[in-house]
Symmetry: C2
Amino acid sequence: MSELSPLQKARYVYKPKLPKMLRNGISEICVKEGEVTQSVADQEKIKALFPNTYGKKEITFEKGVNTSLSKKQVVGVILSGGQAPGGHNVVCGLYDALKATNSDNILYGFKKGPSGLIEDDFVEFDDAFIDQYRNTGGFDIIGSGRTKLETEEQFKIAAEVCAKHGITAIVIIGGDDSNTNAAVLAEYFATHGTGVQVIGCPKTIDGDLKNEDIEISFGFDTATKTYSELIGNIERDANSAKKYWHFVKVMGRSASHVALECALETQPNICLISEEVAKKKMSLSQIANYIADSVEKRSAKGMNFGVAIIPEGVVEFVPEFSTLIAEINELLVGKKADEFNALASWEEKYAFIKKGLSEDSFKVFDILPQAIQQQLFLERDPHGNVQVSLIESEKLFSALVKDVLAQRKAKGTYNGKFNALHHFFGYEGRCAFPSNFDADYCYSLGYNAFMLIQYGYNGYLSKVSNLSKPADQWLAGGMPITKMMNIERRHGEDKPVIRKALVELDGKPFKYFEAHREVWAVETSYTYPGAIQYYGPVEVCDLTTRTLALEKGE
Amino acid sequence: MSELSPLQKARYVYKPKLPKMLRNGISEICVKEGEVTQSVADQEKIKALFPNTYGKKEITFEKGVNTSLSKKQVVGVILSGGQAPGGHNVVCGLYDALKATNSDNILYGFKKGPSGLIEDDFVEFDDAFIDQYRNTGGFDIIGSGRTKLETEEQFKIAAEVCAKHGITAIVIIGGDDSNTNAAVLAEYFATHGTGVQVIGCPKTIDGDLKNEDIEISFGFDTATKTYSELIGNIERDANSAKKYWHFVKVMGRSASHVALECALETQPNICLISEEVAKKKMSLSQIANYIADSVEKRSAKGMNFGVAIIPEGVVEFVPEFSTLIAEINELLVGKKADEFNALASWEEKYAFIKKGLSEDSFKVFDILPQAIQQQLFLERDPHGNVQVSLIESEKLFSALVKDVLAQRKAKGTYNGKFNALHHFFGYEGRCAFPSNFDADYCYSLGYNAFMLIQYGYNGYLSKVSNLSKPADQWLAGGMPITKMMNIERRHGEDKPVIRKALVELDGKPFKYFEAHREVWAVETSYTYPGAIQYYGPVEVCDLTTRTLALEKGE
């Protein structure tokens, strides 16, 4: 029923590039064991929680005689959480390595995410099926879902499903939480002698699954290139029409890697970084004044236009705003919510709010534009909590900036024009055709994941590194997931988790941004990346992110 | 200060393809005169208004000895109105032909649109300047503006500016209105014996400057490909997550060509076409029910997700909504606006509105979500009129659909989930790097515009046709603008204008859509076009729109 686009047909025949050590055929891949590992922190506690899978060795693959046991493998793969470009290629790489090793091997795909494993709902892949998804975006090959595999009961069912179908290994493609759960499942399988192995693959467009072992999570490259294409186009529009300030919100609730990478790619006038806002304990008014300074300086040079990037989650990092949200959540508990909802007019509700909030929080509330005030109170989740993700922070900040500018105009320090337009980019980038980088990286992750299975590893993350270099210089191997873990407080309990990577304010990408942003705020220094290219010059098609290049000192 | 992206550097060296007849060098281009033309309607009136420029011959260029007079040309070029990808290439093509003809020829660029001519504000182009803009998006080379050249006084100043600088011709790059004004200016220059020629070039991403002579306006191809990239990505996301309905508004106030082309490229579940809404005199409720039918049928098949394309201007085509807007504009004239604004609460305002509107219009008003009701009354332009362009029609329709579904759920005919997300794509596509098609077409339009100047034509539109074929089969020439004109009522006066091209409901593109949309509404027939490609296979990089292919019967 679907018609294939010319690009989709062309992408089907693209051959993803593998690391050199995986290019010699299955029979020529051997394992080189590295050092015994320990977790990045809380070693004793993590060791106690993972007696069977802790302290294993890092491994890399290299050219040599394949010494793995010949055993029929039946593997199940799961796509977990939000979409990221390249997920299909992980499955394709896994499938190709599995079939090249033994044509009797079987790959199952559990449908709609982790719940597919629990519900015993899967498909079996064959060539014709796989070939429809090579080098394409999306997770539609089997669907994805957000069910978390974390309870003993789920693990028990998972073991039963595996036993029923003779499954020898599970590959979980997911973010930090999903890979944490993969490690726990691996430990469970080992403890219970199921013989089923678990391998994880690092996915998330947010870029926050990253550490000394994992250089980048897949999808981040393609998603940020897609957003940067659009931001660059908007910058060019702003610089042509010369009459609008564009406030562009980009995805990224907990970390600002996406915003930062887009800023490095496009050189906008303003980019907020949530981690910096938190560190400096910035208030809404400070942020608004910071942006207004750029508007004013540019206006003085005759440029009543600009572009500001706003990370999706930034308001949650503003201390006074978080406090306000917490107070609102308290204010609307139980009967008080009914009382509030019964009030007919906004005026009465406003009076109720004024009475219920602390003086400081009411001050914060009171500077918000009315539309945002109403959003905070009228749209709440089933638990009565404010839905922070629904707050249109791009409109919030442009409204606050407008107020600041009106005050400055009244004082006579500013005499420009300020017209704002708003955008939110997120869903546009999660299912794009993967860039060559993501197509290659993901295919390698999947191929590599199968080699880890074949060599009997359990509780490992598929690891491909040296990624800022051309693919033939990439290194393939595996890392025990427990190495990346520490203990964190989650929902009132100490939990072993993979640490989420935030933007490091003393890291090279942020430092580069910091060194340039004063000039960018005043001048028009826009860079126009254009659409992702899959063919053509290498420097146009194959480079990965500025973030990684800067991290690598390139 | 700006850093050049790898793609921008690569695009600098792209050589746009000219029609074959323009490839032999300037000395080998001769004119073939065609038939004497007459306007598409109102011939006597148009002829009377354009005594000097009416009834001229269509011309095409062909290979042969160049017989144009050798005369030093000083040309001024103007970018008029909204940005469209390829504008820079029109300037580059014009510059290259002008300099190839005589290196003493001069090209000026008037700054910030038509006002640059009146304000005598321009730059002189040279190679280094031009080379920075080859095959790039945007109008930032000289800026654009929306000043209309239409008064006798403006024409007089224009003539003086031309005389002062020895300007021999003006090239106006614009939409239907700008080219109408170009024709009037051409006639003025002829009547007053200035000797200055005027040539127009057909620009607009909206696609509504199109007729039997002009197959497509430039920018439409690139803009719709950019929007289709994003819509395709969102479709893939919808089909992966399987939990959201995406309502996507696309630019296009007066015609739905953009929405239709995007629908042909991406095969969404729903696409509204404003012209059909007007023809069938559809109500908001009919439209909401039409969309809800798709939601319900898909839900019955287990698919609680979908994609709907909404053309920006559609609400203005809903008769009952236009009436409502007209009544609101009446209601808020003069003192009544002050009275309304003095009311403190929305409840009081609502009562005021209820009293002031006709019963029918109040019914329409009353089914709108409150946020839209408030938008209509709180955000008005300096004349007190409703700002229809600010109405978030994507949110309006999803809210109406939600209401319809709630009613159906109450009746027990529908039992699905409906969660909506909203997008607006417009500014993202106006300044993209032009597709190969737009890069080639625009360069040809500019090159061709100079040949029209060199051969002494005035009041012509640069015409390049046979565009659904490869560039070497394109035809280059010129058409008197008066041929495309008719008389229309504008602001209470009869005016000679180029007729705006709306989507023809009996045309082949709409017929194709109509024949498929019932299936698309229920099945998942999405097509994923991906990002614009500039390199790689011809079928991926060089094809123009589905609309044009269908119009040509291909």
